[in-house]
């Protein structure tokens, strides 16, 4: 008796296997769709979050770009750190460093740190140059981090 003629409770084994397979597959598709639907909702939710975060990151990048404007950085560094362009006479190559060290220490800078200024409570630092003309902060970014 081969697999094509064997019967179980009057039904051929082959028919039973076929029907079982079909039922299994139909059930499988149903379950896959159901589970996938749930997954899809979760994925959509995560993707929403990602999209929101991306938008937020872009806002923050724009905010960073705004805060790092060359003119603004320059004004702040001059005002609070007393920084300025290094004149040629103060530049040295790596090979010259040893000679410079032997020549003695450089005179101390009298830079005023921002923290010291705040602690002193003096507020404005003397000699702060005025801002460049018509500087304007884009209103659209005022709430960038909210």
């Amino acid at each position: 008796m081969n697999v094509f003629t064997r019967k179980i409770r009057g039904f051929r084994l082959l028919d039973l296997v076929g029907v079982s397979l079909l039922v299994f597959i139909i059930l499988g598709v149903y379950l896959a769709k159901t589970l996938a639907g749930r997954e899809r909702a979760e994925i959509a939710s995560v993707e929403r979050l990602i999209k929101t975060e991306k938008a937020r990151i872009r806002l923050l990048q724009a905010e960073v770009a705004h805060l790092e404007q060359p003119g603004r950085i320059e004004r702040l560094s001059v005002a609070y750190l007393k920084m300025e362009s290094v004149p040629a006479s103060r530049e040295a190559t790596a090979a010259q460093l040893a000679d410079l060290a032997r020549a003695g220490p450089a005179p101390k800078a009298d830079a005023v740190s921002a923290v010291a200024t705040m602690v002193d409570g003096t507020g404005a630092v003397p000699g702060v140059p005025p801002p460049p003309p018509a500087e304007a902060r884009p209103a659209q970014m005022a709430e960038a981090t909210q």
Binding site: A32, R40, R48, Q61, A88, P132, A134, E143
Partner: protein, 585 residues
């Protein structure tokens, strides 16, 4: 077997189904009884079953993949922002210059509003930009209408917090320029519909819109560090000499890339409508000027390249020179016989005019055409202005143009022509797009390499011992030429001694081989005013050259130009010239 049918007593579909299965079984029985081969039939059924199974398995895999792995789930619950999508503009180092950010449009549906008074009061209190008349029309209408756009997330959250029925938001794209006034003229701006109107925004409009689909960026040639230093020094010069306008340009003469471009007065591209057209005008590209003595660089180069003169050729500048109906003077003249290098150093009008006359109108116009001075500067900017050139190239026109009068060109056109003179003789297009590292840009040869080297030496000599001394930076081998062009005043129908265009055209380093990276810097002040510090002078040597020197000193480290012990060029310098007042005419 048929007697043992367990389902016969059942009604409906199960009974029908079971009857069909038993009927099939009986068919097999009958087939066996009649001696036919039944296995073939069963095999066929088996294969049909297998095919069905494969079909369902394929469906199952496809359904699972579609549900789990595809983009179908995207945008669910979040509406894609509509409107004008544009890609980011970044500088050559990837720093953001312009970006589209999601903002919100405010909509009002009067049919859903319960309390108009509260709605009106709440919105006007929170949104100062909201037009009361427009709000009133929306409240009295009968359908949902747009009321205000470009609201940031904070504004939206605050309005949401009021809990006003009938007030809703829709996301929209909004172009933001986070750097404000920095590089405003080269970046430009776009309208609310996403169409570029000026600067790079207009020049690359289609490209920017296309790139936004893939989330790409458009890198411009400018270096924000260079731009920052350039603007800072231009603003300082503006504050000191109070001109009507000012221009600063930094270019790479080997590639034509514009590394920095500043035009003053400035405007905020976030609010272009609130600035005057005067402020929005990019003076570097869209304005033309009679440049004055910076043109002598071209005349001397043409004289050398055409073989009419050599660096040691002599020109008698002892007496005013009469040419046609006009007499050409050297103000604060040397009143002596000058070599070509000295003509350049003293900015001698007489010597330059005599040189130009020797070259002749035909060759001068040919060279001017070749240097691109008679056509708009070749650059992507749509603002690139057409020059004003002599209608007829006669002796008088040649004499005038030889020292930068009678021809009006844009600062960008001047920069391009100087680039050709100093890069080995190739006229290359200028660009505001970043080129790949090591890119070789081709262009027609307009001068020989020898002429280019000679001009580098002569310009260097002018800084070490001529009118451009205040632009010198130790170790950077700066070369340059001052320029002071008087402006034509329609009120007096003559050139005004009080209104000048003062400029300085600089190149650094002047040392190195023909392929050495060199950078051109132009500083131009339109109608500057002399100060006590400048001894009342407002000429290029006093107002523009110092600014150019400071710019070069600051940007050299960004451009990778190392300081070296100054190598003064071989061209002899007899005596230093006090100032460039000589060039003012």
């Amino acid at each position: 077997m048929s007697l043992n049918q367990p389902a016969l007593g059942r009604p409906g579909l199960p009974r029908w189904l079971i009857e069909r299965i038993w009927g099939l079984e009986h068919a097999f029985e009958r087939a066996r009884a009649s001696g036919r081969v039944e296995d073939d039939t069963r095999l066929r059924i088996f294969f049909v079953l297998v095919l069905f199974s494969l079909f369902f398995i394929t469906l199952a895999i496809g359904a699972t993949r579609a549900a789990v792995f595809t983009d179908a789930a995207r945008n669910i619950g979040m509406v894609a922002p509509v409107g004008a999508s544009r890609a980011d503009l970044v500088d050559r180092n990837g720093r953001m210059l312009a970006a589209n950010l999601v903002h919100y449009g405010l909509y009002i549906d009067p049919r859903e509003i319960w309390d108009q008074v509260e709605t009106r009061r709440g919105l006007l209190q929170l949104l100062p930009d909201l037009d009361p008349a427009r709000l009133e029309r929306a409240l009295r209408g009968h359908r949902r209408v747009f009321v205000l756009g470009a609201l940031n997330p904070g504004d939206r959250n605050r309005v949401h917090a009021l809990g006003l029925p009938g007030v809703s938001f829709e996301p929209e794209q909004h172009r933001v320029y986070p750097l404000g006034t920095t590089a405003a003229h080269i970046i430009g701006f776009s309208d609310s519909g996403g169409e570029g109107l000026a600067g790079a925004e207009a020049a690359f409009n289609e490209e920017i819109r296309s790139a936004s689909v893939n989330g790409g960026t458009i890198p411009l040639s400018i270096d924000l560090r260079v731009q920052g230093a350039l603007e800072d020094e231009i603003y300082k010069a503006v504050a000191e000499f109070t001109p009507r306008g000012a221009v600063g340009i930094v270019t790479d003469v080997q590639t034509g890339e514009i590394l920095g471009m500043s035009s003053w007065p400035v405007f905020d591209p976030n609010k272009p409508g609130k600035s005057s057209e005067y402020s929005r005008t990019n003076r570097a590209a869209a304005s033309v000027f009679e440049m004055g003595s910076t043109f002598k660089g071209f005349t001397v180069a043409i004289g050398l390249d055409s073989g009419v003169a050599a660096p040691d050729s002599k020109f008698d500048a002892r007496f005013p020179y009469k040419l046609g109906y006009r007499t050409i003077h050297d103000y604060h003249a040397a009143r002596k016989i000058l070599s070509l290098v000295e003509v350049f150093q003293h900015s001698s009008n007489i010597g330059t005019a005599k040189l130009a006359e020797s070259v002749g109108p035909e060759r001068m116009s040919h060279y001017f055409n070749g240097l691109g001075l008679t056509s708009p500067a070749k650059v992507e900017l749509l603002e690139s202005a057409r020059p004003l050139t002599p209608k007829v190239w006669n002796d008088d026109a040649v004499a005038s143009t030889s020292f930068g009068h009678g021809i009006n060109v844009s600062p960008l056109a001047l920069s391009r022509a100087y680039g050709a003179v100093l890069n080995g003789g190739r006229l290359i297009p200028m660009t505001i797009r970043k080129l790949p590292e090591g890119a070789k840009v081709g262009g027609p040869r307009v001068m020989s390499e020898k002429t280019s080297f000679q001009m580098l030496s002569i310009m260097r000599a002018n800084v070490t011992g001529g009118s451009g001394k205040s632009a010198n930076v130790p170790g950077l081998s700066v070369g340059g030429k001052t320029g002071t062009g008087e402006k034509y005043d329609p009120a007096i129908r003559a050139y005004s001694h009080a209104k000048q265009v003062s400029s300085f055209a600089a190149i650094f380093p002047t040392t190195g081989g023909i392929d050495t990276k060199r950078y051109f810097v132009l500083v131009l002040l339109d109608e500057p005013h002399g100060t006590a510090k400048s001894a009342g002078y407002a000429t290029g040597g006093w107002v523009a050259a110092p600014a150019a020197g400071r710019i070069i000193e600051r940007i050299a480290p960004f451009l990778g130009v190392q300081r070296r012990n100054d190598q003064v060029q071989a061209i002899p310098v007899e005596e230093p010239v006090l100032a460039d007042a000589a060039e003012a005419q």
